[in-house]
Symmetry: C2
Subunit: 203 residues, 2 copies
């Protein structure tokens, strides 16, 4: 760990390094948003982030790492904006459907970005396990909050059944998302399919 500048909680390096990392992720998201997975070209990211190609690879060892890291940051940003208010809805089903509907709409609002991030997520191999795990935890937390509603307490362990339910739902959500980003299902079909699955699992 470096000795100077302990403004940060984790060891993210110097301010200059944190700034480079931020610029790189910004560029990644901008390019993904404009043209999807294919438009996130490493040379283009490097140029737009104003770093050398080698530096980009020093920060993110592959295009997949880069995109999954971008996904994690996006998710985090979104969550921190939303997670203050309790999830509306009377039953777990209603709350989960509300949350997923909202998330899905958000992603469909930027189809290119979603396509890029989803593709990367599905293509990631074991070397991306760390980044993937971050996203998985974010997803699980979001779903548990929705399932439990007011009864949700941070840090409390969910039961085995709750874990299983959350996992099935995120599997369905992911599959639906993949069908959508690859053009095999419409937004409506995705929404229907998710609702059906949620009602099936949460009854």
């Amino acid at each position: 760990m470096t000795t100077t500048n302990s403004l940060t909680y984790d060891d993210l390096g110097s301010a200059a390094q944190r700034d480079r990392r931020r610029r790189i992720l910004d560029a990644t998201i901008a390019l993904a948003s404009k043209g999807g997975f294919d438009a996130v070209q490493m040379r283009a990211v490097a140029e737009q982030a104003d770093v050398a190609l080698g530096t980009l690879y020093r920060y993110f060892p592959s295009k997949i790492h880069l995109l999954v890291s971008a996904l994690a940051r996006q998710f985090e940003d979104t969550q921190s904006m939303v997670s203050r208010k309790p999830v509306p809805g009377e039953t777990p089903s209603e709350r989960v459907i509300y949350v997923l509907r909202r998330a899905t709409r958000g992603m469909q609002g930027d189809a290119n970005l979603t396509e890029a991030l989803t593709r990367a997520f599905m293509f990631a191999d074991a070397s991306v396990a760390t980044e993937i795990h971050v996203v998985g935890m974010q997803l699980t937390t979001m779903l548990n909050r929705a399932i439990k509603g007011d009864a949700y307490v941070e840090g409390e362990q969910p039961s085995d059944e709750e874990v299983a339910v959350a996992r099935v739902i995120s599997d369905v959500w992911l599959s639906a998302l993949v069908s959508w980003v690859t053009g095999r299902a419409t937004a409506e079909e995705v929404a229907d399919h998710i609702e059906t699955a949620v009602r099936l699992v949460l009854r």
Copy 2:
């Protein structure tokens, strides 16, 4: 349609063309089985199938098309061997778990091949919709047979609920498979997760 040689049900071209197609898929599966997705290199497939690179691309317009077609053929072969006997098990849950366990074991027996085919399936975009649909139908049929057991009748339309259940299960199965091929879950975890999900959905 060519006039000679109507041994085949669909129009698959001349015998020489069918043979080339077969050789290409054989080479694809052999290479995938040996080294996974990365080892299925178009030049290598062409060489091993004894066709020119351009010919390979005439038969399969991309690596993804090639691999998803290989998946469809593998699936078909497996199904035709299995689908004669009824699925053992007293309840839908038991039968579905039996079938998935068997299929999963089969895939885990050739991890490289499974990795290659699964990756391709998850990466496929709209241009591969036809091939994907074939695989999706195979999967749905397999699950419906398992859910209905002796009551299964070929051609009979499953109810909405049955369709939804089958779809959720295949989503979970696919996600589990992806976790496994990308090294994020062990075979045991996959089996457990699937069983839990099936019991959750089929109760």
